[in-house]
Amino acid sequence: MNILTRKKVIVISILLGILLGLVILFSIMVGSVKVKPLRSITILFQSILGLKGAGTETERAIILSLRVPRALLAGLVGAGLSVSGAIFQALLRNPLADPYILGVSSGAAVGAIIAILMGLSTLSIGLPLASFIGALLTIFIVFNFGKQDGKIHPNTLLLAGVIIGSFLSALIMFFISISQKEELHTIIFWLMGDFSFSNPQAVYMISPYIFFGFIFLYLRARQLNLILSGEESALQMGVDVERLKLISYLLASLITAASVSVCGLIGFVGLIVPHSVRLIFGPDHRLLLPSSALIGASFLIASDTFARTLLAPTELPVGVITAAFGGPFFIYLLRTRKVVKTL
């Protein structure tokens, strides 16, 4: 009988991990500054092994301080957004849910814009930190409004998120309307999603949220399957539903906050990656979460690579690429398979 086993999850994860590795290698081989592809790889592996040798100082700087952190950051964000999208879709029982649905992204944007207007964006960590704080404040406010008598009601939470998100959007527009021309470009790129601020510190800053967030969510993968049939149904199977909801919402929101803080609002990934993975591997979270993380990471690294090479030396916002490539692919899947129940 064709059921999900540990072996199947491990095998698929390893295969997708290899794919991710190849995508990372590809992304560090190409760029606006020509470094010979093979030399890029040599530089990478030599530095992993602690050796020095190949390449000029400039080439090594381009590979190790620019391309590698950028690929890692795009990978972390792609994984984070895809996983939190899958979680929000399950908890809100809504296939349209994405990581930004509770307004976390708008809070992050307000934080980021304030930092840009105050000139903090020149500091390597200033912008992400400000936007992370904005996102955390939003999570705090949304959860306080979304709770009733100590319980989380998905619809109340959703409404609270959407309304606070709209209020924050008003703030964003206000800030845009008063900002200067130079700042405007930075703000708009941030709002469309942009990895050009990437630096190694950002990688260190967000990886704990994404790694530990993923692990704690994965421990609840089986319970998340049960909640897809509704809260009462999960409770009948012995799940402590309130605890599951609280922990999962908070972790997914934290992952979103961390992801958004380093690169702005990259749309689409958190919506279509989980759906595409469901169409290919089925809805079981024990397989869905790891494969969404790995495919989301590969997808975003690949998209970012295109974003910075397509019109090089001009960089496109990566959000343009994710929507332009992801949309048609998703429509194709939608036409050939079934996304949600058709009852």
Binding site: M1, R6, L228, G238, R286, V340, L343
Partner: protein, 273 residues
């Protein structure tokens, strides 16, 4: 087995259930009947502690239900409620395996033994051949069986059924209830079923609990509960009660307004002669 001890429950201000007491013995098949809003579903929800009564308590084999852990309850009491489906299409076998959830704890994957239990549950409910079909492609009757199989995979002592036969045609109703009855008779499962269909309740249940406005109006064997006077008082409409000619159990016929005065009286005469 289940001892409901003078419970009262309210959602907001008004009491939905008041001073309800009854016992369910091991292996009994109990029917809970009553008009819309009489508290049937609320009562079932209290029996698996989705809701907790403000007054009184429920004992499960002498232990207070409110002190049992969620997973303990799920190992002993299974529920087949009004239909809910996963948001995304799972296969039948995956749904049935979810019934093993209370036994898995923090384990991520089901063992061979869990799979055996799920297969057995699917065998009893005759859905083994559907195992890899997505749930949303099944007919209403088949889906009901899937959820019974999931309940059986929990290896419970009690199954609570909430309006299990709505939306089923008579063929599927009988098929479903025969399955429940055989689980009750052959495997000793205790059944508590809330239903609107009094003829079904009368045919299948050992005992009936008739609720009216949140109180027990009458409780006992179908012959004692389903009588013309009782039903007319509780439901406020005219009915005719006679016996199912085959089983001999009480049978209710609905009467059009004004019909009973002519036809029913005539029939009554025939009956008594």
């Amino acid at each position: 087995m289940i001892d409901v001890h003078s419970i009262s429950f309210r959602y907001q201000k008004d009491w939905v259930l008041q001073d309800i007491s009854f016992q369910v013995g091991k292996g009994e098949f109990i029917g809970v009947i009553g008009p819309n809003g009489s508290g049937k579903t609320t009562l079932l929800k209290i029996l698996y502690r989705l809701l907790s009564p403000q007054q009184g308590e429920v004992l499960f084999e002498l232990a207070p239900l409110k002190r049992m852990s969620r997973t303990d309850i799920a190992k002993r009491i299974a529920v087949v409620a009004q239909e809910t489906y996963p948001l995304f299409p799972f296969q039948v076998i995956e749904i049935v395996l979810m019934g093993r959830s209370p036994y898995l704890g923090y384990l991520m994957f089901e063992s061979e033994k869990d799979l055996e239990i799920a297969k057995k549950a699917m065998e009893w409910t005759e859905i083994l051949s559907l195992s890899e079909r997505p749930i949303d492609e099944l007919s209403g009757g088949e889906r009901k069986r899937v959820f019974i199989a999931r309940a059986l995979a929990q290896e419970p002592e009690v199954i609570l059924l909430d309006e299990p036969t709505t939306n089923l045609d008579i063929h599927h109703q009988i098929e479903f209830l025969d399955l429940i009855l055989s689980l009750n008779r052959e495997r000793g499962l205790t059944i508590v079923m809330a239903t609107h269909d009094m003829n079904i309740a009368s045919e299948f249940c050992d005992r009936l609990i008739l609720l009216r406005e949140g109180r027990i109006y009458k409780m006992g064997a179908p012959q004692e509960v389903i009588t013309k006077e009782t039903i007319e008082t509780v439901y406020g409409c005219d009915v005719w009660v006679d016996q199912n000619p085959v089983s001999g159990m009480p049978r209710i016929s609905l009467l059009r307004k004004g019909v009973h005065e002519i036809e029913a009286v005539g029939r009554d005469r025939i009956g008594t002669e």
